[in-house]
């Protein structure tokens, strides 16, 4: 193959180029030609195609995501907003926290272990890039039916991959989700969240500023990993009829990343970089064009200097390679020797590959010829933007009219008892220890709460006890029924989970997993979800600090349930005051906060009966805010013994989970229709445990926040007793709850 240079592009201007194979449309290709005033070289074509892919350019989602900025509430907490690698919020005492979720869905379907592992690796580098020490991870996961044979392939591999990478990095896993639904067969969702902490003055940005400063590539050598992976993997759905499209898989090296983290943190501590960017999707194409675009504007790179693992790589491939565990830094010449010294200390390969200039062009040379000469903004920040058509799906009204009333409801005490056992053992509600026991939650010694608590809490300052709490949530079935309301409910739940543990919600991240944006029905779901989240964040006063969009999660014409995973970050001034979920002493009082209505549309009960239809409940955000304030105040003044959010499965499941944690039972009395009281999924409810001494103080506090309380009963005994209905020994509940995952997945690898 002869080298395609800028010179040759000027000479044979009409050469046919495979832009369609690279995923570019005719009009996009025409635009590239008009930007350059000539045809692109093959390297330029590679760069534009990958940077203008859905995954990198957000071309279908951009017009909607703007709402997060436009509707952003007034807040002093936001230090860095959307647009950087991850948003940064002020958590007090001079500390800043950065957090973000990303998806690695398609790669994890192809190769579960490596796909999930490199997903963790990628999000951790995003957090590191902000100048932060990564301190915890979470993994919201969605799979096809639990008993499907492909789930037995995908889930164990994904879990082992997340554990294999995260454990080796020394990052505690503090929470996540495991949810099964038919629509995720062939489209599992592997989302990963990372949170990091730094001092305010240590925040780093992805900017190549300062003429004469050096561009340094450091970390792993570049190989042929995932070439074109971004455009092929993230932007096209899988079609089982065409296995030939299987891309080459990226393999992660967590040890290399661990060393890279420690090396970067030492480099940051000595203030040796002007700007820094991780290499993720689109590799060097992305890092160089984004750094240049956000900085002084010009950069020259000598591509021959890139250290290669595979010496046969062509320049186009080097630019596209998604080899993991690499970073790109901008370093002043007088600091380069110290920078390289630290890299040597950690045995990290580092190479100066270029220089910042004021040419307003990104130029790349290979074998002394210029192969790329582009305005970097046009690659990185001024990609195409689509106003995709969207329309409510034809069947939406019919779906909403199909209420779950046809399912026979349990009536007798025995039927109610069986319903509880059925729910607590169903895969979506069963104990997830088989998964979470594969994750290190202790490492770093700061984990105060982790799974199965309502939110994960990590301490960030040992002296003061300052900490952060995070929860991720969404009931995607609700989002299918009403994507606007469903997404608001997702935010409400994550917000409530954070407050339940005593932390004050501060900021939001999200990972929007949807089907094909080319389907107007999917685009409608997407638009509704984004609008719902932006509106709800404004109402609750929470800024969205970043997130991720994953489209094309569909098999044939069938899209996944719209799955906007919402993550809420909260701050707690003293982690010693957090509220945990376990009932731990006998003779305490149990209260239910919030009102119960009949809400079975999209519920887990309907799901196990194969029903999905009706209207989800409405999110009452004013109520959620008062409830949160009550829970936070009660935690600060230490008057709660425990608290647990009600979600899937309703009250019965929540109390059972609280009892199972430390094996202390409860006796509760319910009003009205027992089925509704026990299993309805009305949002905005929390069960709290209060000792007799604090009871009056608590009731007064609840009244002052205008939160309705119902006295449920008392703690104690070795059974869950529902007065006048039934009782179940905790041992029987535990067997039902804990047996499911081992039965489904033991012996799989």
């Amino acid at each position: 193959m002869t080298l395609d240079t800028v010179k040759s592009a000027l000479i044979d201007a009409n050469q046919v180029q495979p832009y369609r194979e690279l995923g570019l449309r005719d009009d996009e290709y025409a635009r590239i030609k008009s930007i350059l005033g000539r045809r692109p070289t093959s390297s330029e074509l590679a760069m534009y195609s990958v940077m203008w892919s859905e995954h990198c350019s957000y071309k279908s989602s951009k017009v909607h995501l703007r709402q997060f900025g436009e509707k952003q509430p007034k807040t002093d907490a936001l230090l860095v907003g959307i647009g950087e690698n991850a948003g940064v919020v002020d958590v007090g005492e001079g500390y800043a926290v950065t957090f973000k979720i990303e998806s690695h869905n398609h790669p994890s379907f192809v190769e579960p272990y490596q796909g999930a592992a490199t997903g963790v690796g990628g999000i951790v580098r995003d957090i590191l890039t902000m100048g932060a020490r990564p301190i915890a991870i979470m993994d919201p996961l969605r799979f096809g039916p639990a008993d499907a044979s492909d789930t037995k392939r995908v889930l164990p591999g994904v879990v082992a991959g997340i554990g294999g990478y995260g454990n080796c990095l020394g990052l505690p896993n503090i929470g996540g989700e495991v949810v099964f639904d038919e629509t995720y067969s062939g489209n599992p969702l592997i989302n990963a969240l990372c949170v990091g902490v730094m001092r305010h003055e240590d925040i780093k940005l992805a900017k190549a500023s300062g003429v004469g400063n050096l561009v340094v590539l450091f970390g792993a050598k570049t190989g042929g990993d995932g070439i074109g992976g971004v455009s092929v993997l993230a932007s096209e759905s899988f079609d089982s009829a065409k296995p030939s499209k299987r891309p080459s898989v990226q393999v992660g090296d967590p040890f290399a990343e661990k060393v890279l983290i420690e090396c970067c943190l030492e480099i940051f501590a000595e203030d040796l970089v002007i700007g820094i960017q991780d290499l993720g999707g689109a590799g060097l194409s992305c890092a160089t064009s984004e750094l240049a675009s956000a900085g002084t504007g010009g950069m020259h790179v000598v591509l021959d200097r890139v250290p290669l693992r595979d010496p046969s790589l062509a320049p186009e491939e080097i630019l596209m390679s998604e080899s993991q565990e690499r970073m790109c830094a901008i370093v002043e010449p007088e600091k380069i020797s110290r920078f390289l010294e630290l890299c040597t200390r950690w045995d990290v390969t580092a190479t100066v590959i270029g220089e910042v200039n004021d040419s307003a062009r990104l130029t790349i040379e290979w074998e002394n010829e210029i192969i790329v000469d582009v305005p970097p903004r046009t690659v990185a920040h001024e990609g195409p933007v689509y106003e995709r058509p969207f329309a409510e799906p034809a069947g939406q009204k019919r779906l909403q009219a199909n209420l779950p009333n046809s399912i026979a409801r349990p009536r007798s005490p025995e039927e109610l008892r069986m319903t509880l056992l059925d729910l607590i053992s169903c895969p979506n509600l069963a104990d997830k220890s088989w998964v979470t026991n594969q994750y290190d939650k202790y490492v770093q010694g700061n984990t105060v709460l982790a799974q199965p608590e309502d939110s994960g809490i990590v301490r960030i300052d040992e002296k003061t006890g300052l900490g952060v709490a995070i929860s991720t949530d969404v009931n995607a079935r609700w989002c299918l029924l009403d994507p606007y309301e469903g997404t608001r409910l997702a935010l409400a739940e994550a917000y409530r989970n954070v407050a339940t543990t005593g932390a004050r919600p501060l900021a939001v991240t999200n990972c929007l997993n949807f089907g094909s944006p080319e389907d107007p029905a999917v685009m409608w779901q997407f638009e509704r979800a984004v609008t719902g989240l932006a509106d709800a964040c404004l109402e609750l006063g929470l800024p969205v600090t970043g997130g991720n969009v994953s489209f094309y999660n569909q098999t044939g014409d069938v899209a996944i349930l719209p799955t906007p995973v919402v993550g809420v970050l909260g701050v707690i001034d003293d982690v010693a005051k957090r509220t945990a979920m376990a009932i731990s002493t006998e003779g305490d009082e149990l209260y239910l906060l919030g009102e119960t209505r009949e809400d079975f549309a999209g519920s887990e009960w309907a799901h196990i009966h194969g029903h999905l239809g009706g209207m989800p409940p409405r999110a009452d955000l004013d109520h959620e805010r008062r409830l949160a304030n009550l829970l936070i105040e009660a935690s600060t003044s230490q008057i709660l013994s425990a608290a647990h959010d009600l979600s899937d499965g309703g009250l019965a499941i929540a109390v059972a989970e609280m009892s199972l944690r430390k094996r202390v039972g409860a006796r509760i009395t319910i009003d009205g229709d027992p089925f509704v009281a026990l299993f309805s999924e009305t949002p905005g409810r929390v069960v709290v445990v209060v000792s007799q001494w604090h009871r009056n103080e608590f009731l007064a506090l609840a009244a002052s926040h205008r939160i309705v309380t119902h006295h449920l009963g008392v703690t104690g005994g070795s059974a869950l007793v529902v007065a006048d209905n039934f009782e179940i020994q905790l041992s029987e509940l535990a067997d039902a709850h804990q047996g499911t995952f081992p039965r489904l997945f033991a012996g799989t690898r």
Binding site: D253, F255, Y442, V443, G445, V448, A746
Partner: protein
């Protein structure tokens, strides 16, 4: 008393071990794998983690780190040396302790709170416990199954060199449910569960792990 904690590339629980030393009242110093000298260190902890990625076999590469020569020499001369998890693996690979740690019997990484019974309190790291005492520590590893030949096992058993055993169901297939062992002299100890993660109610299941660190500090003062 100064206790050194070695940081290999890939070590994870080094800062936690240092914190445990300080909580127990000692002074902790982080030692770098590439250094050659231990200076004025009184005892050493090899921490948990994935040294050199734990590729090949856990601890196999760390064994050759420059600092390990001095650590091994001093330990053979009687300096207290504790290997926790990956540190235990390094001790076995270095032949400072017999046997080897292999893949958990169910092949999964396992993180859980594990009950143990202390069976030897005459080592420098366990004197603060009583024989037969039950303690709970986090166990977290993928290769924690202790294996050795029959002869070694017989020796360990007959000489009382099994420091602690798992209580209840064997979590990883370790022979005779071994969780930790000591050398004959009682100064070199390897332990699979993590005492350094059981030093504060807030962040660990118990505070049962502190005893390992108070034990060694006491024994050093007594010398």
């Amino acid at each position: 008393m100064i206790i050194g904690v070695v940081t290999f590339p890939g070590s994870l629980d080094d800062r936690d071990a240092a914190r445990a030393v300080r909580m127990a009242g000692g002074e902790a110093v982080l030692l770098w794998h590439n250094d050659h000298s231990l200076k004025n260190i009184d005892a050493v902890v090899l921490p948990g983690g994935f040294s050199y990625g734990d590729y090949l076999r856990c601890g196999a590469i760390a064994r050759f780190a420059p600092i390990m020569q001095e650590v091994a020499a001093r330990a053979q001369g009687g300096m207290p040396l504790l290997g926790i998890c990956n540190g235990f693996q390094v001790l076995c690979e270095s032949h400072l302790l017999p046997g080897v740690l292999t893949r958990n019997s169910d092949l999964h990484f396992l993180c859980r709170d594990q009950e143990l019974i202390i069976e030897n309190n005459s080592t420098q790291w366990t004197s603060e416990y009583s024989i037969g005492q039950h303690i709970t520590l986090p166990l977290k590893n993928g290769e924690g199954s202790y294996q050795c030949d029959d002869e070694t096992l017989r020796l360990l058993e007959s000489e009382g060199r099994i420091l602690a055993r798992y209580v209840g169901e064997n979590p990883n297939g370790s022979r005779n449910s071994i969780a930790g062992i000591t050398n004959e002299r009682g100064n070199i100890v390897g332990l699979m569960p993590h005492p350094e993660h059981a030093i504060e109610e807030l962040t660990g299941p118990t505070t049962d792990g502190l005893g390992f660190f108070t034990s060694v500090l006491k024994s050093l003062i007594a010398l």
